[in-house]
């Protein structure tokens, strides 16, 4: 299930942070597996959220012909 409380932009930012963690100074082997699973989960949610988005198109009833 996707975390609806976060926007897609927030999830992309969080995924970016996770990727950077693996290259950063805070990296530890002990946390690596858990962080990788978090990244996987985020990517799945992002794909789900982006695929599910639909647009609402409404043609205005207003007439723009001259009076």
């Amino acid at each position: 299930m996707s975390d609806k409380s976060k926007t897609i932009e927030e999830k992309m930012a969080q995924l970016r942070q996770l990727t950077e963690w693996f290259e950063g100074e805070d990296f530890t082997l002990g946390e690596a597996a858990d962080k990788f699973e978090q990244a996987n989960k985020l990517a799945r949610e992002i794909e789900h959220d982006l695929t599910a988005m639909k647009n609402k198109v409404a043609v205005l009833k207003e007439s723009f012909e001259s009076e």
């Binding site: 897609i8 932009e9 992309m12 995924l15 970016r16 996770l18 990727t19 693996f22 290259e23 990296f27 082997l29 690596a32 990788f36 990244a39 996987n40 985020l42 990517a43 992002i46 794909e47 982006l50 695929t51 599910a52 988005m53 639909k54 647009n55 609402k56 198109v57 409404a58 043609v59 205005l60 207003e62 723009f64 012909e65 001259s66």
Partner: protein, 365 residues
């Protein structure tokens, strides 16, 4: 003169003619070549439209003409024929549109120079469009190919948006007015969109002429809502394109500019995840190398210590051997034990034997 003709006063005649014109020709479009063009007091425009055999007077305000004219241009004038009690017969101008490639091009150049001089096309005026708009105001003809192209690609690329469509003509003499009213509608809306998009597909110079209309161009410039215009083919550039905040080469290009591509974002997310694997591998190799270096370092230190200790043991052994009584005996010395008084019995230990002896004398050295 007979008695059967209708006799009218001049005023009555004028009124009758105008009544007849109002009934038969309330408005009409007349096409011809401009001649005798003049502007009085920056407000009133007069010119004739002529063809090979005839000419008709036209009169109107600068606002209604909306595009700079020159003698020789061929134009279509929407107007109302009138017989004026003072000025004679003329057509009251409602709107003017250049006709034919040459006239359209000339009108375009004149108007472009005028608006450029006013700064309407300046880069400093251009606003940035929102990165992912949630509410779009779309102005187009719902029957036009450009409208379908734009919406198809927009729906493919992105979602979650509300798109309000203002259906208008996108060519012909009435198009500029309708598009202008649609722009004003969105600007005055209680819930205005974040961006106004105006699109139509390709066409010849006549088809796109509406987008060079001065009032339309000014309406786009005056819009408080940022505007994106995607009209015609790649090489067509209208004044509406130049004045918009962002210009798209085609309706499809407008969709590409307006929203990101969700497929690309999905691919980028998975690429990020995949990129972790080689990073992890490098990290593991680093860990292995560090551990190996530590072990080798420890081994070197231990080896050095052991060498030092071995040396010390050898030195101590040598020292112990030196002080070993057996070593002294082997050098020819002897150990004497027992009573050394005269007549006493002593034991003399040499390296290979032990001698018992009686003491006969003792002398001090």
């Amino acid at each position: 003169m007979g008695t059967n003709e209708i006799r009218l006063s001049v005023s009555d005649f004028v009124a009758l003619v105008n009544q007849t014109l109002d009934y038969a020709l309330p408005s009409i479009v007349i096409v011809g070549e401009v001649s005798g063009y003049s502007v009085r007091g920056d407000k009133w425009v007069r010119f004739k439209l002529k063809d090979e055999t005839s000419s008709v007077d036209f009169f109107g305000s600068v606002f209604q003409v909306r595009t700079p004219l020159e003698d020789g241009m061929v134009v279509a004038v929407l107007g109302r024929p009138r017989l004026s009690d003072k000025w004679g017969f003329s057509v009251s101008i409602q709107s003017v549109q250049a006709v034919g490639e040459g006239s359209i091009k000339r009108g375009f150049e004149l108007l472009k120079q005028k608006l450029q001089a006013e700064g309407l096309f300046d880069e400093a005026r251009k606003r940035i469009l929102p990165a992912t708009p949630r509410h779009i105001g779309l102005i187009s003809s719902t029957q036009a190919a450009g409208y379908v192209d734009f919406l198809t690609l927009l729906n493919e690329r992105w979602g979650g948006m509300k798109i309000d469509v203002a259906h208008t003509l996108v060519q012909g003499i009435h198009a500029p007015g309708q598009i202008t009213r649609a722009i004003e509608y969105f600007n005055q809306s209680g819930e205005p969109p974040e961006v106004i998009v105006i699109v139509r597909g390709g066409g010849d110079a006549d088809d796109l002429a509406a987008f060079n209309d001065e009032a339309l161009v000014r309406a786009i410039a005056a819009s408080r809502i940022p505007t994106l215009v995607g009209v015609g083919h790649e090489i067509d550039v209208t004044l509406a394109d130049l004045v918009a905040d962002v210009r798209a080469a085609t309706p499809s290009n407008a969709a590409e500019i307006l929203v990101p591509n969700r497929r690309e974002l999905i691919d980028r997310a998975w690429m990020s995840v995949r990129s972790i694997v080689p990073t992890m591998q490098n990290r593991l190799q680093d860990y292995e190398r560090i551990n190996r270096d530590l072990l080798e370092g420890a081994e070197r230190i231990l080896t050095d210590r052991i060498t030092i200790y071995e040396g010390e043991v050898v030195a101590i052994s040598r020292l112990l051997k030196q002080y070993n009584p057996q070593t002294v005996l082997e050098k020819g010395y002897a150990i004497i034990r027992g009573d050394i008084d005269i007549g006493g019995v002593i034991e003399i230990e040499r390296s290979k034997d032990v001698i018992k002896a009686e003491v006969h004398s003792v002398r001090q050295k």
